[in-house]
């Protein structure tokens, strides 16, 4: 399964792009993976009959049975710990964590076992486990249902972390994550589940860890991933109306980060603002700022600025618009960067 790095899967009807919701693209992707490889398993809380609280696994248990689409006991450490065992046995488990805030009971199994076991065994075992996590805010939810935990996993070697921002990426990046022989934390921007976009299941996807320039520009680079790509694009649109040309880069992958694509962009624009929902402090923006400053020291006309969550717990729903890096806050930072 893992040999085809292009991530193409067999058994696809050839056909052009179809307007598809983000959630449906994920559902289709899981279905494809279950069809193509008998070793692929889907497991998690309520993924069976209910089809998951977001219906991402809708209909899969009905069609693939309880042996392949597994409702688990309510224990996240147990889910990841048994997924590791299943992977050691040759399976490719795709585990769903119901919400971002519920991944932490599994943190030890993820960072200490899942991430390190391949290295511990000097490569003798592989751990092709995908952990799907609906993440991020903006849906008016109660506590623990809106967090962005990527920075808590990114320091840990052995894990890969990606986050799609469009239905097409949702489909393809999930295919690629499942095909990957390493553990992948697959962060699904839940606020985008209902967004629609073109999906072509016969296209040739970009490599999983390659960033994508989603809008060309010359004055400043805006980097984003997952839920904030849409915000960044709106900001670029708004800026254009004020006569400023912003380039927008969808990072897509957090570990590894595609610094090459970013560097090329910043060498052109001379300015970088990065936007994510996770707190700024020790966030992805810090790593991007540090490394891009090192790589582009003589090109940068302003310091890399970061827009993101505050150093405070994700607030109650009625405050989330204040907490989240929205259009205005992004534009404010763009202005500040351009003022240098």
């Amino acid at each position: 399964m893992a040999t085809d790095t292009q991530g193409r899967v067999g058994g696809q009807q050839a056909g052009g792009p179809v307007k598809t919701a983000f959630a449906k693209a994920l559902n289709t992707s899981l279905r494809t993976a279950l069809e193509n490889d008998p070793k692929v398993l889907v497991m998690g809380e309520d993924v069976g009959k209910l089809g998951g609280v977001f219906r991402i696994t809708d209909g899969l248990q009905k069609d693939f049975g309880e042996e392949r689409v597994i409702d688990t006991p309510l224990a996240e450490s147990g889910i990841i710990g048994t997924a590791i065992g299943l992977a050691l046995r040759g399976y490719r488990p795709v585990a769903e964590i119901q919400f971002d805030g519920f991944v932490f009971p599994a943190y030890d199994q993820i960072v200490t076992q899942l991430a390190k076991m391949h290295a511990r065994a000097l490569g003798k075992v592989k751990l092709p486990v995908v952990i799907r996590i609906p993440y991020g805010g903006g849906i008016g939810a109660v506590e623990h249902h809106s967090e962005s935990p990527e920075a808590q996993f990114a320091p840990v070697a052995g894990l890969k972390i990606v986050s799609p921002s469009t239905p097409s990426d949702a489909y393809w990046m999930l295919q690629q994550a499942i095909e990957c022989d390493d553990p992948v934390i697959f962060l699904e921007p839940k606020a985008r589940y209902w967004d629609k976009g073109e999906l072509d299941t016969s296209a040739i996807p970009a490599p999983l860890h390659r960033a994508r320039v989603v809008r060309q520009g010359t004055d400043l680079t805006l980097a984003a991933y997952g839920p904030t790509v849409k915000t960044a694009l709106s900001a670029a649109q708004a800026a254009e109306e004020e006569g400023r040309s912003l380039e927008v880069v969808d990072l897509r992958s957090i570990s590894p980060l595609d610094f090459d694509t970013l560097q090329r962009s910043v060498e052109k624009t001379g300015r970088l603002v990065i936007v994510h929902e996770a707190p700024v402090f020790f966030g992805t923006g810090a790593e991007v700022a540090a490394r891009i400053t090192e790589r582009c020291f003589y090109h940068l006309e302003a310091p890399v600025l970061r827009v993101g969550g505050f150093h405070a717990p994700y607030p109650p729903a009625r405050l989330e618009e204040e907490y989240l890096p929205g259009l205005d806050r992004v534009l404010d930072s763009v202005d500040r960067a351009l003022a240098y």
């Binding site: 209910l50 409702d71 006991p73 309510l74 009971p105 109660v142 150093h311």
Partner: protein, 394 residues
């Protein structure tokens, strides 16, 4: 404000009196096998009193009416909250429909100085603790994450992450014991939560330190879409014995049985005899929350079956059969329910949104330079719009 739970509070002393009159149950010691039926029941679904060799309760008519009132008002409050969610006033509501007896029976077994660690569904227990029910709505409206003072009513904040509070309760109980004991702590959790490692670790700590904590598991048969069989193959109350303390199953739709069993357990805890697990066998009659659609995963006849065991109905039957309450009582209670519903509706409509800057408050008790920096930067940012507005006006 007679429609709030405040009126429920004076019951403590009467509960105490009753506790003296009745014989506190003797929970089975670990490993021992009672000849009693597996589930303690004192009131059948048909509303008939039955006896149990180990557990008895002898409530006065007033107390019985009080329990009935608690359950009715709790259900009404819950229904109102569900309605408010439908009207967009709340983002979400986890209904306790069907679990009133489990919550009122256990809640009324507690003393004021006992301490409660709830999940997110213990609206009936909150009621018994005298927490203004409108306080419970804040987190589901999205104005706070809880926000009541846990120490005002010895009722901790709702805990959403499954099972975590079992350890907090155990630690609190360890502290109670260090302070000399005499109080009980009770931790609520669900059948699904029983699978979390934290709950097992709480069992271990509580047993090793013989902490005065009662683990109260409401087995409402479902964890969202998963039936209890996805968590265990044997009755949950049996989990306790292997950790070295007694476990018991009680008919969770029988408020008298729950009261009796919980009283025995908290007495035991207060007396320094260590933890106990109660499995209240009940049923979640509604959806998991207002976001859930149970028709996707459970058969409708199951609901019908449990409707016949409704906790309120059976106490009403008993009250009527034994003539312990007259039509006037029921009519007055209906009116009180309406008043409560009105109170809740009004409260939600006047509930203020939090201040913009509130998210920077209480992140730390002793302050943190970064929070200060971000707070002032954000205030400045907000001010910049004010300036812009002013400029535009000029």
């Amino acid at each position: 404000m007679d429609s709030t739970a405040a009126r429920g509070k004076p019951r403590r002393s009467s509960a105490k009196r009753t506790a003296k009159k009745t014989q506190p149950g003797k929970p089975p010691t670990p490993g021992s096998r009672s000849e009693a039926p597996e589930m303690v029941q004192l009131l059948t679904p048909e509303g008939e009193r039955v006896e149990h060799p180990d557990y008895a309760v002898d409530p006065t008519p007033e107390e019985l009416r009080g329990l009935y009132r608690d359950m009715v008002l709790t259900r009404r409050f819950d229904a109102e909250a569900t309605a408010l969610q439908r009207q967009g006033e709340l983002g979400l509501w986890p209904s306790l429909l069907g679990q009133e007896a489990a919550q009122i029976g256990s809640g009324r077994a507690l003393h004021d100085d006992d301490y409660v660690f709830p999940t997110y569904r213990e609206h009936g227990v909150a009621w018994c603790r005298g927490v203004d029910p409108t306080m419970l709505l804040g987190m589901f409206r999205g104005v706070n994450h809880g926000g009541w003072d846990p120490n005002s009513n010895n009722f901790h904040l709702y805990t959403i992450v499954i099972g975590s509070q079992a350890l907090h309760a155990t630690g609190y109980a360890m502290g109670v014991a260090k302070d000399g004991g005499g109080q009980a702590v009770i931790a609520y959790f669900g059948d699904g939560a029983s699978s979390q490692g934290d709950v097992s670790e709480a069992f271990t700590f509580a047993a090793v330190y013989q902490s005065p904590v009662v683990f109260f598991c409401q087995n409402n048969q479902w964890a969202i879409s998963e039936p209890t069989e996805r968590q265990t193959r044997v009755p949950l109350y049996q989990r306790a014995a292997g950790f070295g303390f007694p476990g018991i199953r009680v008919d969770g739709n029988d408020v008298l049985a729950v009261l009796a069993v919980t009283r025995a357990a908290v007495e035991r805890a207060r007396a320094g005899e260590g933890p106990m697990l109660i499995e209240a066998f009940t049923y979640r009659m509604g959806a998991h929350t207002t976001s859930d659609d149970p028709t996707r995963y459970r058969p409708s006849d199951e609901l019908e079956e449990w409707q016949a065991k409704d906790p309120i109905l059976r106490l009403r039957r008993y009250l009527e059969r034994e003539k312990l309450a007259d039509a006037g009582f029921f009519a007055a209670l209906d009116e009180e329910s309406d008043r409560l519903a009105r109170h809740v509706r009004e409260a939600i409509r006047t509930m203020p949104d939090p201040d913009h800057m509130a998210m920077f408050e209480h992140v730390y008790a002793d302050g943190h330079a970064l929070v200060d920096e971000e707070r002032s930067a954000y205030a400045e940012y907000l001010d910049s719009f004010a300036d812009a507005d002013t400029e535009e006006v000029r």
